[in-house]
Protein backbone atom coordinates (compact mmCIF):
# COMPACT_ATOMS: atom_id res chain seq x y z
CA UNK A 1 0.00 0.00 0.00
CA UNK A 2 2.30 2.75 -1.18
CA UNK A 3 -0.66 5.10 -1.34
CA UNK A 4 -1.18 4.71 2.37
CA UNK A 5 2.36 5.67 3.35
CA UNK A 6 2.03 8.62 0.99
CA UNK A 7 -0.96 9.99 2.93
CA UNK A 8 0.69 9.40 6.28
CA UNK A 9 3.59 11.66 5.47
CA UNK A 10 1.27 14.39 4.17
CA UNK A 11 -1.50 14.40 6.72
CA UNK A 12 0.19 16.03 9.71
CA UNK A 13 -1.36 19.42 10.31
CA UNK A 14 0.79 22.46 10.93
CA UNK A 15 0.17 24.68 13.94
CA UNK A 16 -1.23 27.30 11.58
CA UNK A 17 -3.77 24.85 10.16
CA UNK A 18 -4.82 23.75 13.61
CA UNK A 19 -5.29 27.35 14.70
CA UNK A 20 -7.32 27.91 11.55
CA UNK A 21 -9.63 25.08 12.55
CA UNK A 22 -9.94 26.52 16.06
CA UNK A 23 -10.85 29.95 14.70
CA UNK A 24 -13.39 28.51 12.27
CA UNK A 25 -15.08 26.91 15.25
CA UNK A 26 -14.88 29.67 17.85
CA UNK A 27 -16.05 32.45 15.53
CA UNK A 28 -18.91 30.42 14.00
CA UNK A 29 -19.88 27.79 16.57
CA UNK A 30 -23.57 28.48 17.00
CA UNK A 31 -24.26 29.91 13.54
CA UNK A 32 -26.12 27.45 11.37
CA UNK A 33 -27.85 26.07 14.48
CA UNK A 34 -30.87 23.99 13.48
CA UNK A 35 -33.35 21.84 15.34
CA UNK A 36 -32.25 18.58 13.71
CA UNK A 37 -28.47 18.42 14.00
CA UNK A 38 -28.02 21.61 16.11
CA UNK A 39 -24.40 22.80 15.80
CA UNK A 40 -23.38 20.21 13.20
CA UNK A 41 -23.13 22.67 10.25
CA UNK A 42 -20.59 24.71 12.22
CA UNK A 43 -18.67 21.57 13.18
CA UNK A 44 -18.52 20.56 9.52
CA UNK A 45 -17.46 24.08 8.58
CA UNK A 46 -14.63 24.15 11.11
CA UNK A 47 -13.34 20.64 10.32
CA UNK A 48 -13.62 20.95 6.54
CA UNK A 49 -10.19 22.35 5.70
CA UNK A 50 -8.24 20.35 8.26
CA UNK A 51 -9.88 17.09 7.21
CA UNK A 52 -9.25 17.79 3.53
CA UNK A 53 -5.54 17.72 4.32
CA UNK A 54 -5.84 14.54 6.39
CA UNK A 55 -7.91 12.79 3.70
CA UNK A 56 -6.66 13.65 0.18
CA UNK A 57 -8.75 10.71 -1.03
CA UNK A 58 -12.25 11.97 -1.94
CA UNK A 59 -14.20 8.96 -0.70
CA UNK A 60 -12.46 8.87 2.67
CA UNK A 61 -12.98 12.61 3.00
CA UNK A 62 -16.71 12.31 2.35
CA UNK A 63 -17.05 9.44 4.81
CA UNK A 64 -15.15 11.37 7.48
CA UNK A 65 -17.11 14.57 6.87
CA UNK A 66 -20.45 12.73 7.03
CA UNK A 67 -19.53 12.02 10.63
CA UNK A 68 -19.41 15.72 11.38
CA UNK A 69 -22.83 16.39 9.89
CA UNK A 70 -24.31 14.34 12.73
CA UNK A 71 -25.94 15.88 15.80
CA UNK A 72 -23.59 17.98 17.86
CA UNK A 73 -24.36 20.40 20.68
CA UNK A 74 -21.89 21.73 23.23
CA UNK A 75 -21.08 25.01 24.92
CA UNK A 76 -19.05 26.70 22.14
CA UNK A 77 -16.24 27.56 24.57
CA UNK A 78 -15.98 23.87 25.51
CA UNK A 79 -16.57 22.44 22.04
CA UNK A 80 -12.90 23.29 21.37
CA UNK A 81 -11.72 20.54 23.64
CA UNK A 82 -13.84 17.94 21.87
CA UNK A 83 -12.95 19.06 18.34
CA UNK A 84 -9.27 19.27 19.29
CA UNK A 85 -9.38 15.68 20.52
CA UNK A 86 -11.28 14.61 17.39
CA UNK A 87 -8.69 16.23 15.17
CA UNK A 88 -5.85 14.44 16.96
CA UNK A 89 -7.61 11.08 16.56
CA UNK A 90 -8.29 11.51 12.86
CA UNK A 91 -4.78 12.75 12.24
CA UNK A 92 -3.34 9.68 13.94
CA UNK A 93 -5.63 6.87 12.80
CA UNK A 94 -7.33 8.25 9.70
CA UNK A 95 -10.66 6.87 8.56
CA UNK A 96 -10.32 3.85 10.89
CA UNK A 97 -11.09 6.19 13.78
CA UNK A 98 -14.50 7.11 12.32
CA UNK A 99 -16.64 5.30 14.87
CA UNK A 100 -14.34 6.17 17.76
CA UNK A 101 -14.56 9.84 16.77
CA UNK A 102 -18.34 9.73 16.79
CA UNK A 103 -18.54 8.07 20.20
CA UNK A 104 -15.93 10.45 21.61
CA UNK A 105 -18.01 13.40 20.45
CA UNK A 106 -21.27 12.10 21.88
CA UNK A 107 -19.73 11.03 25.18
CA UNK A 108 -17.80 14.27 25.76
CA UNK A 109 -20.40 16.86 24.78
CA UNK A 110 -22.72 16.13 27.71
CA UNK A 111 -20.31 16.45 30.62
CA UNK A 112 -18.27 19.27 29.09
CA UNK A 113 -21.42 21.27 28.33
CA UNK A 114 -22.60 20.76 31.87
CA UNK A 115 -19.46 22.49 33.09
CA UNK A 116 -19.34 24.98 30.22
CA UNK A 117 -22.96 26.08 30.42
CA UNK A 118 -22.81 26.72 34.14
CA UNK A 119 -19.51 28.60 33.86
CA UNK A 120 -19.92 30.61 30.66
CA UNK A 121 -23.69 31.06 30.54
CA UNK A 122 -24.72 31.21 34.20
CA UNK A 123 -22.05 31.92 36.80
CA UNK A 124 -19.83 34.35 34.95
CA UNK A 125 -22.64 36.41 33.32
CA UNK A 126 -24.46 36.54 36.68
CA UNK A 127 -21.47 37.85 38.56
CA UNK A 128 -20.27 40.20 35.80
CA UNK A 129 -23.84 41.18 34.91
CA UNK A 130 -24.80 42.20 38.41
CA UNK A 131 -21.59 44.18 38.94
CA UNK A 132 -21.63 45.83 35.50
CA UNK A 133 -25.40 46.38 35.65
CA UNK A 134 -25.13 48.12 39.00
CA UNK A 135 -22.27 50.35 37.90
CA UNK A 136 -24.18 51.19 34.71
CA UNK A 137 -27.23 52.34 36.67
CA UNK A 138 -24.96 54.94 38.24
CA UNK A 139 -23.74 55.92 34.78
CA UNK A 140 -20.40 54.15 35.18
CA UNK A 141 -19.22 52.19 32.10
CA UNK A 142 -16.19 50.56 33.77
CA UNK A 143 -18.02 47.33 34.64
CA UNK A 144 -19.16 46.84 31.05
CA UNK A 145 -15.69 47.61 29.70
CA UNK A 146 -14.02 45.16 32.10
CA UNK A 147 -16.56 42.51 31.05
CA UNK A 148 -15.62 42.98 27.38
CA UNK A 149 -11.92 42.96 28.21
CA UNK A 150 -12.22 39.69 30.13
CA UNK A 151 -14.16 38.09 27.28
CA UNK A 152 -11.49 39.17 24.79
CA UNK A 153 -8.89 37.62 27.13
CA UNK A 154 -10.87 34.38 27.21
CA UNK A 155 -9.87 33.85 23.57
CA UNK A 156 -6.50 32.57 24.73
CA UNK A 157 -8.09 30.42 27.40
CA UNK A 158 -10.23 28.81 24.70
CA UNK A 159 -7.14 28.32 22.56
CA UNK A 160 -5.49 26.60 25.53
CA UNK A 161 -8.54 24.36 25.95
CA UNK A 162 -8.39 23.46 22.27
CA UNK A 163 -4.71 22.54 22.53
CA UNK A 164 -5.49 20.58 25.67
CA UNK A 165 -8.04 18.55 23.74
CA UNK A 166 -5.62 18.08 20.85
CA UNK A 167 -2.69 16.91 23.00
CA UNK A 168 -4.44 14.83 25.64
CA UNK A 169 -7.43 13.69 23.59
CA UNK A 170 -9.38 10.82 25.08
CA UNK A 171 -7.37 10.75 28.29
CA UNK A 172 -8.96 14.08 29.13
CA UNK A 173 -12.24 12.77 30.48
CA UNK A 174 -10.69 10.53 33.07
CA UNK A 175 -7.77 12.71 34.15
CA UNK A 176 -9.38 16.14 34.15
CA UNK A 177 -13.07 15.30 34.48
CA UNK A 178 -13.09 14.92 38.26
CA UNK A 179 -10.98 18.03 38.82
CA UNK A 180 -13.20 20.19 36.61
CA UNK A 181 -16.21 19.02 38.62
CA UNK A 182 -14.52 20.00 41.87
CA UNK A 183 -13.81 23.41 40.37
CA UNK A 184 -17.38 24.07 39.18
CA UNK A 185 -18.75 22.79 42.43
CA UNK A 186 -16.58 25.21 44.40
CA UNK A 187 -17.20 28.21 42.19
CA UNK A 188 -20.94 27.73 42.50
CA UNK A 189 -20.61 28.84 46.16
CA UNK A 190 -19.42 32.19 44.81
CA UNK A 191 -22.40 32.24 42.46
CA UNK A 192 -24.82 31.40 45.25
CA UNK A 193 -23.53 34.21 47.47
CA UNK A 194 -24.00 36.70 44.66
CA UNK A 195 -27.47 35.34 43.90
CA UNK A 196 -28.34 35.58 47.61
CA UNK A 197 -27.35 39.24 47.61
CA UNK A 198 -29.30 39.89 44.41
CA UNK A 199 -32.58 38.82 46.01
CA UNK A 200 -32.47 41.76 48.41
CA UNK A 201 -30.81 44.35 46.18
CA UNK A 202 -32.09 43.76 42.65
CA UNK A 203 -35.65 42.51 43.16
CA UNK A 204 -37.92 45.41 44.05
CA UNK A 205 -41.40 44.86 45.45
CA UNK A 206 -43.02 47.86 47.10
CA UNK A 207 -46.52 48.50 48.35
CA UNK A 208 -47.72 52.03 49.09
CA UNK A 209 -50.68 50.66 51.10
CA UNK A 210 -51.39 52.33 54.46
CA UNK A 211 -53.79 51.31 57.22
CA UNK A 212 -55.73 54.22 58.63
CA UNK A 213 -57.16 53.85 62.16
CA UNK A 214 -58.39 57.19 63.41
CA UNK A 215 -55.40 59.53 63.47
CA UNK A 216 -52.80 56.75 63.36
CA UNK A 217 -51.68 55.56 59.93
CA UNK A 218 -49.57 52.48 59.54
CA UNK A 219 -47.46 52.03 56.41
CA UNK A 220 -47.51 48.38 55.46
CA UNK A 221 -44.13 48.52 53.76
CA UNK A 222 -41.91 50.52 56.12
CA UNK A 223 -43.55 49.67 59.43
CA UNK A 224 -44.56 46.05 58.95
CA UNK A 225 -42.62 44.25 56.23
CA UNK A 226 -39.32 46.08 56.64
CA UNK A 227 -39.48 45.60 60.43
CA UNK A 228 -39.85 41.83 60.09
CA UNK A 229 -36.95 41.47 57.67
CA UNK A 230 -35.36 43.67 55.02
CA UNK A 231 -36.34 42.34 51.62
CA UNK A 232 -39.18 40.21 52.96
CA UNK A 233 -41.43 40.59 49.92
CA UNK A 234 -38.61 39.91 47.38
CA UNK A 235 -37.68 36.75 49.30
CA UNK A 236 -41.30 35.54 49.21
CA UNK A 237 -41.53 36.33 45.50
CA UNK A 238 -38.24 34.53 44.81
CA UNK A 239 -39.46 31.48 46.72
CA UNK A 240 -42.72 31.48 44.75
CA UNK A 241 -40.93 31.75 41.38
CA UNK A 242 -38.42 29.05 42.38
CA UNK A 243 -41.33 26.77 43.24
CA UNK A 244 -43.22 27.57 40.03
CA UNK A 245 -40.10 26.87 37.92
CA UNK A 246 -39.98 23.38 39.37
CA UNK A 247 -43.45 22.65 37.99
CA UNK A 248 -43.68 21.36 34.44
CA UNK A 249 -46.62 23.54 33.36
CA UNK A 250 -44.74 26.80 34.13
CA UNK A 251 -42.12 28.04 31.64
CA UNK A 252 -39.99 31.14 32.34
CA UNK A 253 -41.86 33.05 29.62
CA UNK A 254 -45.21 32.28 31.27
CA UNK A 255 -43.86 33.46 34.62
CA UNK A 256 -42.59 36.69 33.03
CA UNK A 257 -46.06 37.31 31.58
CA UNK A 258 -47.71 36.46 34.93
CA UNK A 259 -45.52 39.01 36.73
CA UNK A 260 -46.28 41.70 34.14
CA UNK A 261 -50.02 41.07 34.55
CA UNK A 262 -49.73 41.18 38.38
CA UNK A 263 -47.79 44.45 38.16
CA UNK A 264 -50.32 46.08 35.82
CA UNK A 265 -53.21 45.00 38.07
CA UNK A 266 -51.28 46.10 41.18
CA UNK A 267 -50.51 49.47 39.66
CA UNK A 268 -54.14 49.97 38.55
CA UNK A 269 -55.55 49.16 42.01
CA UNK A 270 -52.77 50.93 43.91
CA UNK A 271 -51.64 47.81 45.77
CA UNK A 272 -48.20 47.98 44.16
CA UNK A 273 -46.13 51.10 43.67
CA UNK A 274 -42.79 52.13 42.22
CA UNK A 275 -40.09 51.29 44.77
CA UNK A 276 -38.21 54.25 46.21
Amino acid sequence: MSNNTQTETNNKLTIKERKNMFRRWIFFAGLGYNFESQQAPAVAFSMRKALRKIYPNDDEYIAAMDNHYKYFNATPQMGNVILGATLAMEEKDGIKSKDAVQSLKTSLMGPLSGVGDSLFWILFPTIMGSIAGYMALQGNPIGAIIWMAIYIGLYWVKMWLFNLGYTSGTKLVTSLGAKINVFTDAISTMGLMVVGSLVSTVVKVYTPLKFQTGKVSLSLQTEVFDKIMPGLLPVCLAALVYWLLGRKSWTPTKIILLIIVICLAGSFTGILGIAK
Binding site: F27, F28, G32, N34, F35, E36, A40, P41, A44, F45, D58, I62, T75, Q77, N80, S113, D117, I122, I127, G129, I131, A132, G133, A136, L137, N140, P141, A144, W147, M148, K179, V182, F183, D185, I187, S188, T189, L192, M193, V194, V195, G196, S197, L198, S200, V202, V203, K204, V205, Y206, L237, A238, V241, P252, I259, L264, S267, L272, G273, I274
Partner: protein, 267 residues
Protein backbone atom coordinates in the same frame (compact mmCIF):
# COMPACT_ATOMS: atom_id res chain seq x y z
CA UNK B 1 -23.13 62.32 14.24
CA UNK B 2 -25.67 62.65 11.41
CA UNK B 3 -28.96 60.81 11.95
CA UNK B 4 -28.48 58.68 8.85
CA UNK B 5 -25.07 57.44 9.97
CA UNK B 6 -26.46 56.65 13.43
CA UNK B 7 -29.23 54.58 11.84
CA UNK B 8 -26.76 52.61 9.72
CA UNK B 9 -24.44 51.98 12.67
CA UNK B 10 -27.31 50.78 14.88
CA UNK B 11 -28.36 48.28 12.19
CA UNK B 12 -24.75 47.14 11.76
CA UNK B 13 -24.49 46.68 15.51
CA UNK B 14 -27.59 44.45 15.37
CA UNK B 15 -25.93 42.34 12.66
CA UNK B 16 -22.70 42.09 14.65
CA UNK B 17 -24.61 41.18 17.81
CA UNK B 18 -26.41 38.32 16.05
CA UNK B 19 -23.06 36.99 14.84
CA UNK B 20 -21.15 37.42 18.08
CA UNK B 21 -23.90 36.02 20.26
CA UNK B 22 -24.13 32.88 18.14
CA UNK B 23 -20.48 31.96 18.63
CA UNK B 24 -18.02 31.10 21.34
CA UNK B 25 -16.46 34.51 20.88
CA UNK B 26 -18.92 36.50 23.00
CA UNK B 27 -17.02 39.78 23.25
CA UNK B 28 -20.29 41.70 23.38
CA UNK B 29 -22.66 38.75 23.21
CA UNK B 30 -26.14 40.15 23.59
CA UNK B 31 -25.46 41.27 27.16
CA UNK B 32 -27.68 44.35 27.64
CA UNK B 33 -25.21 46.41 29.63
CA UNK B 34 -22.48 46.12 26.97
CA UNK B 35 -24.89 46.58 24.04
CA UNK B 36 -26.55 49.52 25.84
CA UNK B 37 -23.18 51.19 26.23
CA UNK B 38 -22.39 50.71 22.53
CA UNK B 39 -25.79 51.98 21.31
CA UNK B 40 -25.42 54.94 23.65
CA UNK B 41 -22.02 55.63 22.14
CA UNK B 42 -23.46 55.56 18.61
CA UNK B 43 -26.46 57.70 19.57
CA UNK B 44 -24.33 60.22 21.44
CA UNK B 45 -25.63 59.65 24.98
CA UNK B 46 -23.71 56.92 26.81
CA UNK B 47 -25.37 57.52 30.18
CA UNK B 48 -28.89 56.81 28.84
CA UNK B 49 -27.50 53.68 27.17
CA UNK B 50 -25.91 52.55 30.43
CA UNK B 51 -29.02 53.10 32.54
CA UNK B 52 -31.35 51.23 30.15
CA UNK B 53 -28.75 48.54 29.46
CA UNK B 54 -28.04 48.16 33.18
CA UNK B 55 -31.74 47.84 34.02
CA UNK B 56 -32.28 45.20 31.34
CA UNK B 57 -29.07 43.45 32.43
CA UNK B 58 -30.38 43.04 35.96
CA UNK B 59 -33.75 41.89 34.58
CA UNK B 60 -32.12 39.26 32.42
CA UNK B 61 -29.67 37.84 34.97
CA UNK B 62 -29.69 34.10 34.79
CA UNK B 63 -32.25 33.87 32.01
CA UNK B 64 -29.74 32.05 29.83
CA UNK B 65 -30.23 30.26 26.51
CA UNK B 66 -29.01 26.91 27.81
CA UNK B 67 -28.64 24.22 25.16
CA UNK B 68 -30.13 26.47 22.52
CA UNK B 69 -33.43 27.04 24.35
CA UNK B 70 -35.36 30.18 23.45
CA UNK B 71 -35.53 33.20 25.76
CA UNK B 72 -36.56 36.84 25.17
CA UNK B 73 -33.94 38.71 23.18
CA UNK B 74 -32.74 41.18 25.79
CA UNK B 75 -30.00 42.49 23.49
CA UNK B 76 -32.58 43.49 20.88
CA UNK B 77 -34.74 45.02 23.62
CA UNK B 78 -31.72 47.08 24.68
CA UNK B 79 -31.00 48.40 21.18
CA UNK B 80 -34.67 49.32 20.67
CA UNK B 81 -35.00 50.89 24.13
CA UNK B 82 -31.84 53.01 23.98
CA UNK B 83 -32.45 54.05 20.36
CA UNK B 84 -36.01 55.21 21.04
CA UNK B 85 -35.22 56.80 24.41
CA UNK B 86 -32.57 59.02 22.85
CA UNK B 87 -34.63 59.78 19.72
CA UNK B 88 -37.95 60.45 21.44
CA UNK B 89 -36.85 61.44 24.92
CA UNK B 90 -38.89 58.62 26.48
CA UNK B 91 -38.18 57.66 30.11
CA UNK B 92 -36.25 54.50 31.06
CA UNK B 93 -39.46 52.70 32.04
CA UNK B 94 -41.18 53.50 28.76
CA UNK B 95 -38.10 52.66 26.70
CA UNK B 96 -37.97 49.23 28.32
CA UNK B 97 -41.73 48.81 27.96
CA UNK B 98 -41.35 49.32 24.20
CA UNK B 99 -38.12 47.37 23.87
CA UNK B 100 -39.17 44.18 25.67
CA UNK B 101 -42.11 43.28 23.39
CA UNK B 102 -39.83 43.72 20.37
CA UNK B 103 -37.35 41.42 22.09
CA UNK B 104 -40.07 38.86 22.65
CA UNK B 105 -41.25 39.06 19.02
CA UNK B 106 -37.65 38.68 17.80
CA UNK B 107 -37.68 35.33 19.53
CA UNK B 108 -40.04 34.15 16.79
CA UNK B 109 -37.43 35.06 14.15
CA UNK B 110 -34.96 32.95 16.10
CA UNK B 111 -37.23 29.91 15.83
CA UNK B 112 -37.86 30.54 12.11
CA UNK B 113 -34.12 30.87 11.41
CA UNK B 114 -33.38 27.60 13.19
CA UNK B 115 -35.94 25.91 10.94
CA UNK B 116 -34.53 27.50 7.77
CA UNK B 117 -31.01 26.46 8.84
CA UNK B 118 -32.14 22.87 8.62
CA UNK B 119 -32.49 23.32 4.87
CA UNK B 120 -29.00 24.85 4.64
CA UNK B 121 -27.53 21.94 6.60
CA UNK B 122 -28.98 19.40 4.15
CA UNK B 123 -27.89 21.48 1.16
CA UNK B 124 -24.35 21.60 2.49
CA UNK B 125 -24.23 17.83 3.05
CA UNK B 126 -25.62 17.23 -0.45
CA UNK B 127 -22.78 19.34 -1.88
CA UNK B 128 -20.33 17.18 0.04
CA UNK B 129 -21.63 14.05 -1.65
CA UNK B 130 -21.58 15.76 -5.05
CA UNK B 131 -17.89 16.54 -4.31
CA UNK B 132 -18.48 20.28 -4.63
CA UNK B 133 -16.29 20.94 -1.62
CA UNK B 134 -15.60 24.62 -2.22
CA UNK B 135 -19.29 25.47 -2.37
CA UNK B 136 -19.87 24.08 1.13
CA UNK B 137 -18.21 27.13 2.64
CA UNK B 138 -20.36 29.45 0.54
CA UNK B 139 -23.53 27.78 1.78
CA UNK B 140 -22.33 28.17 5.35
CA UNK B 141 -21.63 31.88 4.87
CA UNK B 142 -25.15 32.17 3.45
CA UNK B 143 -26.48 30.63 6.68
CA UNK B 144 -24.50 33.18 8.67
CA UNK B 145 -25.98 35.99 6.59
CA UNK B 146 -29.53 34.72 7.15
CA UNK B 147 -28.80 34.28 10.84
CA UNK B 148 -27.94 37.98 11.09
CA UNK B 149 -31.30 38.87 9.54
CA UNK B 150 -33.09 37.67 12.68
CA UNK B 151 -31.85 40.80 14.49
CA UNK B 152 -31.39 43.05 11.46
CA UNK B 153 -35.04 42.82 10.32
CA UNK B 154 -36.70 43.91 13.59
CA UNK B 155 -34.05 46.57 14.33
CA UNK B 156 -34.32 48.02 10.80
CA UNK B 157 -38.10 48.26 11.16
CA UNK B 158 -37.74 50.05 14.49
CA UNK B 159 -35.06 52.40 13.13
CA UNK B 160 -37.12 53.28 10.05
CA UNK B 161 -40.64 53.46 11.49
CA UNK B 162 -40.31 53.28 15.29
CA UNK B 163 -39.84 56.90 16.34
CA UNK B 164 -43.18 58.37 15.10
CA UNK B 165 -45.13 55.33 16.34
CA UNK B 166 -43.61 55.52 19.80
CA UNK B 167 -44.20 59.26 19.96
CA UNK B 168 -47.86 58.70 19.08
CA UNK B 169 -48.24 55.84 21.55
CA UNK B 170 -46.66 57.87 24.37
CA UNK B 171 -49.62 60.27 24.20
CA UNK B 172 -52.19 57.50 24.56
CA UNK B 173 -50.74 55.23 27.30
CA UNK B 174 -52.25 55.96 30.75
CA UNK B 175 -49.91 56.57 33.71
CA UNK B 176 -50.96 53.48 35.65
CA UNK B 177 -49.92 51.38 32.66
CA UNK B 178 -46.37 52.78 32.38
CA UNK B 179 -46.10 52.67 36.18
CA UNK B 180 -47.15 49.03 36.10
CA UNK B 181 -44.41 48.27 33.57
CA UNK B 182 -41.85 50.12 35.68
CA UNK B 183 -42.91 48.03 38.69
CA UNK B 184 -42.58 44.92 36.53
CA UNK B 185 -39.06 46.07 35.65
CA UNK B 186 -38.24 45.97 39.35
CA UNK B 187 -39.80 42.58 39.93
CA UNK B 188 -38.74 40.68 36.80
CA UNK B 189 -35.12 39.97 37.88
CA UNK B 190 -36.69 37.41 40.19
CA UNK B 191 -37.34 35.09 37.22
CA UNK B 192 -33.64 34.98 36.36
CA UNK B 193 -32.73 34.47 39.99
CA UNK B 194 -35.22 31.61 40.23
CA UNK B 195 -33.75 30.00 37.12
CA UNK B 196 -30.21 30.38 38.45
CA UNK B 197 -31.20 28.69 41.68
CA UNK B 198 -32.72 25.82 39.70
CA UNK B 199 -29.33 25.23 38.02
CA UNK B 200 -27.23 25.60 41.15
CA UNK B 201 -26.55 23.21 44.04
CA UNK B 202 -28.88 25.16 46.37
CA UNK B 203 -29.43 22.39 48.89
CA UNK B 204 -25.74 21.54 49.17
CA UNK B 205 -24.58 25.13 49.64
CA UNK B 206 -27.65 26.76 51.20
CA UNK B 207 -25.30 28.37 53.76
CA UNK B 208 -23.73 30.58 51.11
CA UNK B 209 -27.08 31.63 49.66
CA UNK B 210 -28.19 32.83 53.10
CA UNK B 211 -24.78 34.43 53.80
CA UNK B 212 -25.00 36.38 50.54
CA UNK B 213 -28.51 37.56 51.40
CA UNK B 214 -27.58 38.66 54.94
CA UNK B 215 -24.41 40.41 53.74
CA UNK B 216 -26.44 42.47 51.26
CA UNK B 217 -29.71 43.02 53.14
CA UNK B 218 -28.43 43.64 56.68
CA UNK B 219 -24.72 44.51 56.34
CA UNK B 220 -25.25 46.35 53.02
CA UNK B 221 -22.01 45.13 51.41
CA UNK B 222 -21.94 46.04 47.68
CA UNK B 223 -22.19 43.14 45.23
CA UNK B 224 -18.49 43.30 44.24
CA UNK B 225 -17.53 42.80 47.89
CA UNK B 226 -19.91 39.85 48.20
CA UNK B 227 -18.45 38.35 45.02
CA UNK B 228 -14.98 38.63 46.58
CA UNK B 229 -16.09 36.91 49.79
CA UNK B 230 -17.72 34.23 47.62
CA UNK B 231 -14.49 33.89 45.66
CA UNK B 232 -12.58 33.34 48.89
CA UNK B 233 -15.09 30.68 49.97
CA UNK B 234 -14.91 29.04 46.55
CA UNK B 235 -11.10 28.93 46.72
CA UNK B 236 -11.16 27.34 50.17
CA UNK B 237 -13.70 24.73 49.09
CA UNK B 238 -11.77 24.00 45.90
CA UNK B 239 -8.52 23.45 47.80
CA UNK B 240 -10.28 21.23 50.31
CA UNK B 241 -12.06 19.08 47.73
CA UNK B 242 -9.08 18.88 45.36
CA UNK B 243 -6.95 17.59 48.24
CA UNK B 244 -9.61 15.05 49.10
CA UNK B 245 -9.69 13.98 45.45
CA UNK B 246 -5.92 13.39 45.26
CA UNK B 247 -6.00 11.51 48.56
CA UNK B 248 -8.80 9.34 47.19
CA UNK B 249 -6.93 8.60 43.98
CA UNK B 250 -3.75 7.84 45.93
CA UNK B 251 -5.75 5.55 48.20
CA UNK B 252 -7.36 3.96 45.16
CA UNK B 253 -4.02 3.22 43.50
CA UNK B 254 -2.65 1.85 46.80
CA UNK B 255 -5.69 -0.39 47.01
CA UNK B 256 -5.06 -1.56 43.46
CA UNK B 257 -1.50 -2.47 44.36
CA UNK B 258 -2.66 -4.35 47.44
CA UNK B 259 -5.30 -6.16 45.42
CA UNK B 260 -2.68 -7.21 42.91
CA UNK B 261 -0.48 -8.49 45.71
CA UNK B 262 -3.46 -10.29 47.21
CA UNK B 263 -4.06 -12.01 43.89
CA UNK B 264 -0.44 -13.08 43.83
CA UNK B 265 -0.72 -14.61 47.27
CA UNK B 266 -3.83 -16.50 46.28
CA UNK B 267 -1.95 -18.05 43.45
Amino acid sequence: MPVFLQNVLVILLAAYMAWDNGTGNQVTGNWPVIIGMLVGLIMGDVSVGLVIGGTLQLMSLGVAAIGGSSIPEYGVATIVGVFLAIRTGASTGTAIAVGLPVGMLTLQFDVIMKIINNFFAHWSQRLLHEKKFEKMDLVFYLTVFCWMLKYVIPITLVVLFGTPIVKAVLHIIPTWFTNGLTIAGGMLPVVGIGMLLRYMPVKKYLTYLILGFVAAAYVKIPVLGIALIGGAAAYAIYRHNAEKLTQQSVAATENDVQDDEGDDFDE
